[in-house]
């Protein structure tokens, strides 16, 4: 069996290495996508364009605005003179946030009454708006607290009343600066591998069928099992190389930490690649032309991609879609890859994901081999 397996594998490698387009497709798009994803995909919120309308012109109002200016979350891009101007700016997307301080602001503060800071937020991107509002509140409550402390010291002295205050301290683990890239780059590694390997496998087999070389192989003494192995082993190795390539780009270019054990990642990658090979094989059994394979791949891969927790939290999905994520190998692989790169956890924590991927690989491989044999007959 081995004697016949090796020539098929060699043939497959030769085919990849002689195909200029394939060589190009294996290296350039993954790196390009990695770079674009790494830079473009982010939910972080910094330097929100902000318009200010200060109708009070007092020391207090200026002090409050200064707190926004000095934070790196807000950039004051426009100073408006009237409420109408503010409305216009927000309508035309000239600013995403507007701060309005009405006349009498300082007076209210000095009298000890609640002074309003009016904030208008462009909610078009609800995520950005929500985070920006959080920062507005943080800055405002910082101002309020300092103002009260200051006032008490000045007016009431030591015997006055006391501020009772509970604060919340932030302790982000695994990603101390809450850097968005650390979240997205491991996700990109997983999605890229999925798309690439499924496409490669499905296309390689469908091409043979379309061109008619599949029949030639079948009349040779090669057995179906040998053919499948001969086809998949090279792609498995290509997949490993691909993961190594994109992980390296992530570590070197984006400075993603790798705190875990590389062997745990290798084990997870192996299981994941088995799943992707089986999916590719399965797709190849239902398609007779490359064009069909292409559109089928697209139809099948986009749910895997969206429902994986790659960018959108699984917990926020409707229950039915959450169930679907259980048969999505990418879901488990993302846990493994983030776990090993960022958290540094080992098999003792990741074993449920390993087990799930192993079961999926087993089921998918069996299914695809059974179906594949049938299509040969």
């Amino acid at each position: 069996m081995f004697a016949r397996l090796v020539p098929i594998m060699i043939k497959e490698f030769l085919e990849i290495s002689r195909d200029k387009a394939a060589r190009f497709l294996l290296v350039v798009p993954p790196i390009l996508q990695m770079l674009i994803f790494g830079y473009a995909a982010s939910f972080e919120v910094y330097h929100v364009s902000t318009a200010v309308l200060d109708l009070d012109h007092s020391q207090e109002s200026r002090e409050l605005v200064a707190r926004f200016t000095s934070s790196n979350r807000f950039d004051i891009v426009k100073v408006a003179a009237s409420q109408r101007e503010i409305n216009k700016i927000i309508d035309a997307s000239g600013a995403a946030v507007a701060l309005v301080i009405h006349a009498g602001f300082a007076e209210l503060l000095r009298k000890g009454q609640a002074a309003p800071l009016q904030v208008i937020v462009d909610g078009t991107n609800s995520n950005t708006a929500l985070i920006a509002l959080g920062y507005v509140n943080t800055i405002a409550s910082g101002f309020a607290q300092d103002y009260v402390t200051d006032l008490m010291q000045r007016v009431q002295g030591a015997q006055g009343m006391r501020q009772v205050r509970v604060t919340l301290e932030q302790r982000p683990w695994f990603n101390p600066d809450l850097n968005g890239r650390w979240f997205f780059v491991p996700g990109v590694i997983g999605t890229l591998t999925l798309v690439l390997i499924v496409n490669l496998t499905a296309f390689a087999i469908v091409r043979e069928r379309e061109v008619g070389t599949l029949e030639q192989i079948m009349v040779s003494p090669v057995r179906p099992a040998e053919f499948i192995l001969g086809k998949t082993v090279p792609f498995f190795l290509v997949g490993l190389g691909e993961v190594a390539l994109v992980v390296t780009v992530g570590l070197v270019w984006f400075r993603i930490p790798f705190v875990g054990n590389p062997f745990v990642l290798l084990l997870g990658t192996t299981l994941f690649l088995l799943c992707t090979l089986a999916i590719g094989l399965l797709i190849s059994t239902v398609c007779s032309t490359q064009q069909q394979a292409f559109s089928t791949n697209f139809l099948i891969l986009s749910p895997f991609f969206i429902l994986s927790g790659f960018a959108y939290p699984i917990a926020s999905m409707p229950q039915v879609l959450q169930w679907f994520t259980y048969i999505n190998p990418l879901r488990y692989y993302l846990v493994v890859i983030r776990g090993t790169l960022l958290k540094g956890v080992g098999v003792s924590v990741l074993w449920p994901d390993f087990a799930a991927m192993a079961i999926l690989a087993l089921v998918l491989l069996t299914l695809s081999i059974l179906r594949f044999r049938k299509t040969l007959e």
């Binding site: 103002y147 006032l151 604060t167 101390p176 650390w182 749910p303 926020s316 960022l342």
Partner: protein
């Protein structure tokens, strides 16, 4: 350009689309499935985030604090851990996305110094969830803080003045309830149109080359522009159908507010379709194989449309050189337009800039495609 010949090409193309039910199904089914997949799968609103509590004091005060968390819609207390390693394990496994730790001297500090702090341990692997969770948690804690301040003042028999000297009155415009679906779905329509549109036409010329019918077509008196427009018009109609389909689902099924005018929407959508379809046509002229053309069309349209159009990731948060790059992504202009029409109800007058860019883009791509086609023939 003669209307009669244009018509003949268009009729031929319609017949061809009609006789290839698989492609037609993809053209009509894809928008449908993608709409529902993204509409339900892409949701950035956090609710019932699983957290664990680690009460190192076990006092009345700490239990009160946790009650505030329990009452919050945004958090669900999944575990009450007793030891530090237990909390580490829960966060490592991903069972809890955050841990709230009350220090052992919490109420003592609160009584003596008047200030005490609570820790929020956040799973930073998902930075966005961590950020939003922290903002919600901070709001819960400050609510608690106000409550105990009030009760403390109450006991002292003092007035309530000076508790919160500054009140933030926030008003959210255009998406009042901050529902992520409201901004994702209109953008999604743009992404789907970009994807399906380019896919549809990218096959049309390549197919003629592959089947050898192109030579036949060339030997007839039709001109290259008649071929182009004759082939594009049926797809434009299919594109309109797809767009109408997506927009109906957006408004009727997902209840996204629609505040603009249908006229503005129709005009800009047609313009966008013109860009997208001629883009696919260009690919298929340049690359003579169907697989190659559709693959390039997908890679060249899908990823940029998803990532660089501002459909979900805000452009102004990207590094400057990526921001410059986004001006080349035509989906960017349509995403801006369609979000504005849906949520802001803005008319064509205020959307002149993106519309102008789209017009320039359409003219450039159509010109390029026409030139490339003529070159191919000679």
């Amino acid at each position: 350009m003669r209307l009669r010949r244009l018509n003949a090409i268009a009729v031929k193309e319609v017949l061809q689309i009609w006789r290839d039910p698989r492609s037609l199904m993809i053209a009509l089914l894809l928008p449908f499935t993608q709409m529902f997949l993204f509409g339900y799968g892409v949701n950035l609103d956090l609710k019932h985030l699983p957290i664990c509590t680690f009460d190192r004091e076990g006092s009345q005060a700490s239990q009160d604090l946790f009650k505030h968390f329990q009452a919050s819609l945004y958090f669900a207390i999944a575990h009450n851990v007793k030891t530090y390693p237990e909390m580490v394990a829960a966060i490592d496994r991903g069972d809890c996305r955050a841990g709230i730790v009350v220090p052992p001297d919490f109420s003592e500090r609160l009584n003596d110094a008047g200030t005490a702090s609570v820790q929020a341990i956040l799973d930073g692997t998902d930075d966005n969830t961590a950020n939003i969770a922290f903002a919600y948690a901070a709001a819960v804690v400050s609510g608690y803080s106000n409550d105990i301040q009030l009760s403390w003042l109450d006991r002292q028999g003092r007035t309530l003045q000076q508790v919160t000297p500054l009140v933030v009155q926030s008003r959210v415009w255009f998406n009042e309830d901050l529902v992520s679906r409201n901004f994702i779905i209109p953008g999604l329509v743009a992404v789907i149109m970009a994807m399906v549109g380019a896919q549809l036409t990218s096959l049309t010329i390549a197919r003629e080359w592959e089947r050898g019918t192109m030579e036949l077509l060339v030997s007839t008196p039709v001109t290259s522009s008649e071929v182009m427009f004759g082939k594009l018009i049926p797809y434009l109609i299919l594109g309109w159908l797809d767009a109408a389909f997506c927009l109906t689902i957006a408004v009727l099924w997902f209840a996204v507010p629609f505040r603009g005018t249908l006229f503005a929407l129709f005009l800009t959508t047609t313009l966008f379709l013109a860009v997208v379809l001629s883009m696919g046509y260009l690919f298929s002229v340049l690359i003579r194989s169907q697989v190659g053309a559709s693959q390039i069309a997908l890679v060249a349209t899908l990823l940029p449309a998803m990532l660089l159009s501002g459909y979900i990731f805000p452009i102004d948060q990207m590094p400057p050189f990526i921001q410059d790059l986004t001006y080349l992504i035509y989906a960017r202009y349509y995403v801006t337009i369609i979000k504005a029409i849906f949520l802001k109800g803005i008319g064509i007058g205020q959307l002149m800039m993106p519309i102008l860019f789209l017009v320039i883009y359409a003219l450039a791509v159509v010109g390029l495609a026409a030139r490339a086609f003529r070159k191919r023939l000679t």
